[in-house]
Symmetry: C2
Subunit: 335 residues, 2 copies
């Protein structure tokens, strides 16, 4: 038999090394003094200090098939922002401050420049919230991912003092629900969108007057991060829901104590045009729309009526979208 | 247009819910009292207490294309063991005790029973090292993964007291290198193996007398975990290398201070028959074999000569495989 090598089987250890070199400076720019670099070559080391009763808050996420849009447009420098922001928002719902982040990138054929662009996006989003990009894994899996495709997974660790955990426990009837505007689809509903529009360059390149830009640009808009704006206001917030897969309908109940219902007023916020466009194109039922998409609300906060005015006034793109009521049969009612 | 739904686009939120139900009890069996369950619906919460100067040690890993072997054999209950053990071994090299684990499973079509089998394996491996399976994400990505294929990623967080970090810093010439037997290929080199043998049932089902079992059984053997056996011996260990991609040649230098060389005696351990079989089949260069595969050594420890005897005598499948010398040009020499 012809002499076989790992490279001939599609695994290029040298490409892996080049990718590592390229991403080093991006990751390095995110480091905090707590990161013990130079030690632990098989793992990331982070010194946790200055907390009385630290609770580690962790989450893992992908960005779903938004990846297909990035691949179709050949734009790889924003999808990492989506990944980090999704994770940061998830742990923020418990009141946590992000500490460090690890990523996993798997591709069929490792393209060092592509990996660099992805990591650049992640590093940028990490820096914006002082989160250290402490480690990651880049896997070349020939025959697994088609050429040009990749998957991306993020893992975040944050911390919150035990006494400051936000868990929705004190929410009661009469509390106010504040919605924070999303920047678009964030990272949910892309399989449906792709089914409706496809990912042909001609389609993604089409300019829509109501969007003020091309469909591709709109769909690739990064997931908004709510950490910096909410950080000083956390003591006023009783519960938080990150509006991801399942929409307002499935995510709001995750922070509501039993026996309570979230009553939302659908006229209280403007549905962004991208959602209307999608709904028309697919002739999609209103109820299905609210279950699949965020419909313009990326994060929902619940506070006492006393704090609601201050909260919604201090937050860009915030508005009161509903109230908590003693529950009927439905946990979320949109009227 | 025909009325569109998320389900018609290939995303089945009900299957996701069923999968969640099925995996709950497996994950639940791994919980430790430090896990604050019932709070933090968007994240996992873990109370860190009882440490003076805690250093969080984290790692992310996949299992590479060993997944293709699992898929070809329709055996999904051991690949999760591989994933957890790989992660546990990685942070163990810094002396860390595992605390909690999160997983990511992405599939083209979500099959709840398959997800359950995967999580069952992870939970089993987590329980074996008292690590809590605290969270995870199951993503259905139609059009992304071919039917039946999935990717699997694991994230682990462990802890070590600052004063007990193992970092190889005290290693010096004259120290002894101890090799711990691997259980097979662990999770590296599978792309090459698949190129040589393919994944046809007839090939994987073939019985090899030298293996004492079928090729498929041998290839699916889970990655060995070294935590429990090494835990009481950590104070005697100066440095540790987990022998993964890159083999002994690339991984041993990760724990060696500059200016030192690991000199290995190739006759000091028996190369398991699977590696000989692979080498013959592919007419693979000896040097390439040592760069791609672990060649029978899954973990390498470095200790002082005084401690080496006790260490190798107390560890099953351990033997002295070499010594540290003042460096020449190569960082690892195998003679």
């Amino acid at each position: 038999m012809k002499r076989q090598t790992y490279a001939a089987a599609g695994v290029d250890l040298d490409a892996a090394r080049r990718a590592k070199e390229l991403i080093k400076r991006h990751a390095h720019a995110t480091l905090r003094p707590e990161v013990m670099s130079g030690v632990g070559p098989f793992a990331g080391l982070y010194q946790l200090k200055g907390y009385r009763e630290p609770i580690l808050v962790s989450s893992v996420d992908g960005v779903g098939t938004k990846l297909k849009i990035a691949a179709a447009l050949g734009r790889h420098d924003t999808i990492g922002i989506d990944l980090v922001n999704h994770c940061v928002n998830d742990i923020l719902t418990s009141g946590a401050e992000p500490l460090f982040f690890l990523d996993y990138i798997a591709m069929g054929k490792l393209v060092p420049q592509q990996v660099e662009a992805i990591v650049k996006g992640m590093a940028e989003a990490c820096r914006a919230v002082s989160c250290a990009l402490i480690g990651g894994e880049t896997a070349e899996m020939p025959g697994f991912y088609p050429q040009g495709d990749y998957d991306l997974v993020g893992f975040i660790i944050g911390v919150v003092e035990k006494g400051n955990i936000i868990d929705g426990r004190s929410i009661k009837a009469g509390d106010v629900i504040i919605g924070l505007a999303s920047s678009g689809l964030h990272t949910n509903g892309y399989s449906l969108v792709r089914k409706l529009f496809g990912t042909e360059p001609s389609v993604l390149g089409q300019l829509y007057p109501e969007l003020g830009r091309t469909l591709g640009q709109e769909l690739l808009e990064p997931h908004r991060c709510y950490y910096q704006m909410l950080k000083p206001l956390l003591p006023k917030i009783k519960g938080m829901a990150h509006i991801t897969g399942g929409g307002l309908v499935d995510n709001l109940p995750r922070t509501l104590p039993p026996g309570l219902t979230a009553k939302l007023d659908r006229g209280s916020w403007k549905i962004p045009p991208i959602f209307t466009l999608i709904q028309k194109r697919g002739n999609i039922d209103e109820k299905e729309m609210y279950r699949v998409f965020n419909m313009g609300i990326g994060m929902a906060l619940i506070s006492s009526p006393d704090d609601a005015g201050h909260l919604s006034a201090s937050l860009a793109g915030a508005r009161v979208i509903g109230a908590v009521e003693r529950g009927g049969t439905e946990r979320v009612v949109i009227t």
